[in-house]
């Protein structure tokens, strides 16, 4: 009897140990898988972002200086006309590039996904997005060869007797360069969306008497709206933060938010507090665009299941 009780006690003890081990394992395994990346993201994404959020409230902070007090001066300074113009210019560049990419990219994606010969579709798509694999810096540099005053475009223009154009260092150059850089993203996303389009719906629309144009606007566009929204968001966000194109092709007339931030840290200005505030504004603009997408676009863009 006593032995039996002892055995049961021992068994429950072992059983408890097993459950504890099980519980421990249930914590250790996810920690082993997710911990290292988690620490990395915490150290190099979360903490730095929180830090610039803090520094953005320190007026006129120079590198190496101690924090002396907090205030809203950095944000108030952004409201000065000079800086507001920079913000507006950045937003206009990003918006214009997005519209250009949508207008040029939709027909391309439509042709690739619906009209192109089936066996060539994949290859043609890969061919279109192939430039994304090459350096964006070098692809932008390639446009200098075309756009500069003694460049290829002017050579062609003057050889057919047309007046040469001063395209380099203008806003046009920025639009061309950004559209060139980000068009493949738009085509890729729209293609994925158009590929899933149910063509029977178009036939049904035609049977019911809709002409192709009406069917396009009433069936195709609504069906691919999530893709359109996702593509626009991606192009908008990428071009909003782009540094290389406005710097190399836009010249001094195309000061954008990202160039202004760059100058606060690596350029002549050296004002970390103001630079942090500008970075926060950039992050805010990006978050706003994403919030708009989540509200009106694809409601479950989850990649991890």
């Amino acid at each position: 009897m006593e032995r039996g009780i002892k055995r049961t006690a021992a068994l429950t003890h072992i059983f408890n140990l097993a459950t504890i081990q099980q519980k421990l394992r249930a914590i250790v395994r996810p920690l082993g898988l997710l911990g290292p990346s988690g620490v990395w993201l915490l150290l190099l994404v979360v903490l730095p972002t929180l830090l610039i959020a803090e520094l953005s409230f320190v007026p006129g902070l120079r590198p190496g200086q101690a924090i002396e007090g907090y205030g809203l001066l950095n944000y108030i300074r952004i409201l000065e006309p000079t800086y507001l113009r920079v913000l507006q210019r950045s937003a206009t560049f990003a918006m214009g590039t997005t519209l250009l990419c949508l207008a040029l990219g939709f027909p391309v994606a439509y042709w690739l996904a619906i009209m192109a010969p089936k066996r060539w579709r994949n290859l043609l798509l890969v061919l279109f997005i192939l430039p994304l694999w090459t350096s964006s810096l070098l692809r932008t540099y390639a446009w200098i060869t075309l756009l500069r005053p003694s460049g290829v475009i002017n050579l062609v223009l003057s050889s057919v007797g047309l007046p040469t154009q001063g395209l380099m260092n203008t806003h046009w150059a920025v639009y061309i360069g950004m559209t060139y850089s980000f068009l493949p993203y738009m085509v890729l996303i729209l293609y994925a969306s158009l590929e899933r389009l149910d063509l029977q719906l178009l036939e049904a629309a035609a049977d019911l008497g809709a002409n192709p144009r009406l069917a396009f606007w009433r069936v195709t566009v609504p069906q691919t709206l999530p893709g359109i929204a996702a593509g626009c968001l991606l192009v908008f966000v990428t071009s909003l933060g782009d540094f290389v194109v406005p710097t190399l092709l836009g010249g001094p007339t195309s000061m954008t938010l990202s160039r202004l931030i760059y100058n606060q840290f690596l350029g002549v200005a050296r004002n970390w507090g103001f630079g942090s505030a500008l970075s926060m504004v950039l992050i805010l603009m990006v978050s706003l665009a994403i919030a708009l997408l989540l509200k009106y676009g694809d409601r479950n863009p989850e990649i991890y299941s």
Partner: protein
Amino acid sequence: MKPAANHQNRPMLPSWQALLTLAMYSFMYIPIIILGVYSFNESRYGAVWRGFSLTWYRKLLGDERLFFALGDSLKIALCAVAVSSVLGTLMAVGLAKYRFPGKSLYVGVSYLPLIIPDIAIAVATLVFLASVAIPLSLWTAIAAHMVFCLAYIAVVVSSRLKGLDPNLEEAALDLGATPTQALLKVLIPQLTPAILSGCLLSFVLSMDDLLISSFTAGGANPLPIEIFSRVKTGIKPDINALSVLLILASGLIAALSEYFRVKSDRA
């Protein structure tokens, strides 16, 4: 008669969509082709053709600074990608397997490096490193590059994980494999093509990165920084030649990645 797919009714006439697509292909490739052609141009200035020459390629071979810069870039990219391939894969597997409080926050943070513009991440990293008094070097650049490499590899591996048969791993466990064995011998082999294509993608992004290196590399001088500082002041014919070589290299990497992707889809 069904008027469906009316573009097929007149196959002789190319549609305006086809013409625009053709124009856009030209738009994508003409600048690259022109860059290539002019890398063989004898003339240093202007767009006028002065005869075929390999001068710029020869000059490139003697340019020690560029070789050092390429070395720095390769060191950063290879180290960052090597570590990230392990961490990113573990992270993707962990996210697919476990539910835990704060998971959506974890996922959200892991997306940040893909969403926040490079300039903001670069600035934040610089300020953070300065605040904890870590001097900038090749190593800080590697640490910073790991952030986005990790994120891209995790996304690529996650999308592959969704298409896998979970029964295989369970079968391995039923047959007596430990969870670690099941991970290494059953799951990882199935994920290898996806991991490789994620690695190639993040390698290319790391080799191409200008901003994050500018803010975190300190004395190290990776290739994009060197190229950027040279082309800021205009056309450099030897950079044309370098571009051609780099574009060919990335074309090769793209082809390799496409091969892994197709393999991964068929597996």
